[in-house]
């Protein structure tokens, strides 16, 4: 007997609704993945404005749900469970998704699963590449998160190995983009500019790589400042800033540290699979360098397609399916959103 799981995501600036089919043999198939983004409304502020995001979620929630069912060609009564991002994320934004999910679960008389956004970023890979080998290692890189995680059980046991001590990788992209007069969000324009530049033109620092630094933690704040200093010095000398070289050298520093630490963590713990997910996973240099280094180290690399890497409802539906398949207890209907939900909590009970 197959089961249909609806997933709702609203932790940041994307309202996502996904539908998946969980087959009796445990395979998970994507049926619909609808996203309404408020990113354009945030662009002029140079970052996500929580109140603007929350207002957009309220407006988009029911229409996005309807689109998902239309895309899947399913009626709402086909749903067997509702999964929703309970955290981590922006409090006001999470609350909209959690409230909607509770109401749908009540209306459809099906169980509710409040699940972890970060675990969703990993679970989404199963929609493209099939079941995850466990244990595996996951590198989550986005505008809000930069974490190295060990996954022993996608439905239950995820352990943080390292994380950023300051800015998220995607945040560094946004800030450097602004410095170079490139648009927000900064990832795609920097990636594009970098293609014309020399990644070895400028030796930007590799944060947290000293002998006394935490082996698997990251830092991007110093890198961002180093780029700003370099650009300001060039401007002070009256030189034109070589945007492609700065972009390529910055991007190289980010990709170098991320992939070096991820591959080292996998090698040291004898783990044979690395999953890279989150919005920054779409970066061409990150995935390219990761592919080279994983091949050298004999590690299988899995990177979901860009559409699945960014925030969406399919990832929450996929995680919900794994949680349902594992027989986990549903969340109570007085479930609260938790902006600081730790990654060790996959399902909120």
């Amino acid at each position: 007997m197959s089961r249909i799981i609806m997933g709702i995501e609203s932790s940041c600036d994307e309202t996502g609704v996904g539908l998946v089919r969980l087959a009796a043999n445990g395979t998970v198939e994507l049926l619909a993945d609808e996203v309404a983004s408020s990113v354009d409304q945030h662009a002029r502020f140079g970052g996500v404005v929580p109140e603007v995001a929350s207002r957009a979620h309220l407006e988009a929630m029911v229409p996005t749900v309807r689109r998902a069912f239309a895309t899947a060609g399913l009626s709402m009564s086909a749903v067997d469970a509702v999964a929703v991002t309970a955290g981590p994320g922006l409090a006001g934004a999470l609350l909209v998704g959690v409230s909607a999910a509770k109401a749908y679960a009540a209306a459809l008389d099906v169980p509710l699963y409040g699940v972890n956004h970060l675990a969703g970023h990993i679970a989404v890979d199963t929609l493209q590449h099939g079941p995850l080998p466990e244990p595996c290692l996951a590198l989550l890189v986005s505008g809000g998160h930069t974490q190295l995680l060990r996954v022993d059980d996608i439905a239950g046991k995820i352990t943080e190995i390292g994380s950023t001590v300051d800015d998220a990788a995607g945040e560094a992209y946004d800030k450097v983009a602004r410095l170079l007069d490139l648009p927000y969000p900064g990832g795609p324009p920097i990636d594009k500019a970098a293609r014309e530049g020399d990644p070895n033109a400028i030796a930007f620092p590799r944060g947290m790589t000293g002998p006394r630094d935490a082996k698997f933690d990251f830092s991007f704040s110093g890198l961002k400042t180093a780029v700003a200093r370099w650009v300001e010095a060039a401007q002070a000398r009256g030189e034109e800033v070589p945007v492609p070289d700065v972009a390529a050298s910055f991007q190289e520093a980010v990709a170098d540290v991320l992939t070096a630490k991820a591959v080292r963590a996998a090698t040291e713990s004898g783990i044979g699979t690395l999953v890279i997910s989150g919005g920054v996973a779409a970066n061409s240099r990150l995935s390219g360098l990761a592919a080279d280094r994983c091949a050298e180290a004999g590690i299988e690399l899995r990177v979901p397609r860009p559409r699945l890497c960014t925030d969406n409802g399919a990832m929450i539906a996929a995680l919900g399916a794994h949680v349902v398949a594992a027989g986990c207890a549903p969340s109570p209907l007085h479930l609260s959103a938790n902006p600081a939900l730790p990654v060790s909590t996959v399902t909120v009970s």
Partner: protein, 220 residues
């Protein structure tokens, strides 16, 4: 018709099941908790308890009435998205009601009056009503000292909170009740008309400033 009434525009987390007929608005069961931080957590449980308390089922509801503010944003959204998703999941219409109108619907006085609720940031939401409960002005948001109205009687929990500044006669109706919500929406509900869009009354733009010139990291 059995109507579910929901409001989260004030510190009250309100859900009730109301029988609505042309000559009768009768509350069958209601669950209300005063906690400005618990709207998201408690509303759906309150809805199910109210439905159970009325001896009904969600599938037996004919419509939902939802307060659309004005009210502090986060709590307000919890109620509105709950109402919208319940309506969508059950396939029943959701009728918006100005939350101040729902408070006014519970007031019985023989003079025009104000309804005032807390808008946080030392401001209030307010509207003016005729003695029969028809809104004549508002809703507005302003600081209590600048509330510009000659009316002497005032309802709403904001009136109690800011009594020292507002200085008017308090009427004992602090929050929108299921009875008030259903009464305010009765004509629309019974007409079976397509509901108005469920649009929140924020009355303020989001606080967000466009960034100025970037700060330099080096001293010039």
């Amino acid at each position: 018709m059995l109507v579910l009434a929901i409001d989260t525009a004030t510190p009250a987390v309100t859900a009730g099941v109301v029988a609505v007929e042309p000559e009768r608005v009768e509350v069958l069961a209601e669950r209300v908790t005063l906690d400005a931080r618990a709207h998201g957590e408690l509303l759906t449980p309150h809805v199910l308890e109210a439905v159970g308390g009325a001896g009904a089922a969600l599938t037996g509801l004919g419509a939902i009435v939802c307060g659309v503010g004005p009210g502090p944003y986060t709590g307000l959204r919890a109620g509105m998205v709950t109402a919208a998703a319940l309506g969508d999941g059950l396939g029943i219409p959701v009728y918006p009601v100005c939350s101040l109108d729902a408070i006014a619907a519970g007031v019985t006085v023989d003079e025009p009056f104000l309804v005032v609720t807390d808008a946080r940031r030392r401001e209030v939401y307010w509207a003016a009503y005729a003695a029969d409960g028809t809104r004549t002005d508002g809703p507005h948001v302003s600081v209590p000292a600048e509330l510009d109205s000659p009316l002497r009687a005032v309802a709403g929990h904001g009136a109690r909170q800011h009594a020292a500044v507002l200085g008017r006669r308090l009427l004992d109706h602090d929050h929108p009740t299921p009875h008030g919500l259903a009464t305010a929406a009765r004509d629309a509900v019974l007409s079976g008309a397509e509901p108005e869009p469920l649009t929140p009354l924020y009355l303020r733009r989001p606080d967000a400033a466009e960034p100025g010139a970037r700060k330099r990291v080096t001293v010039s």
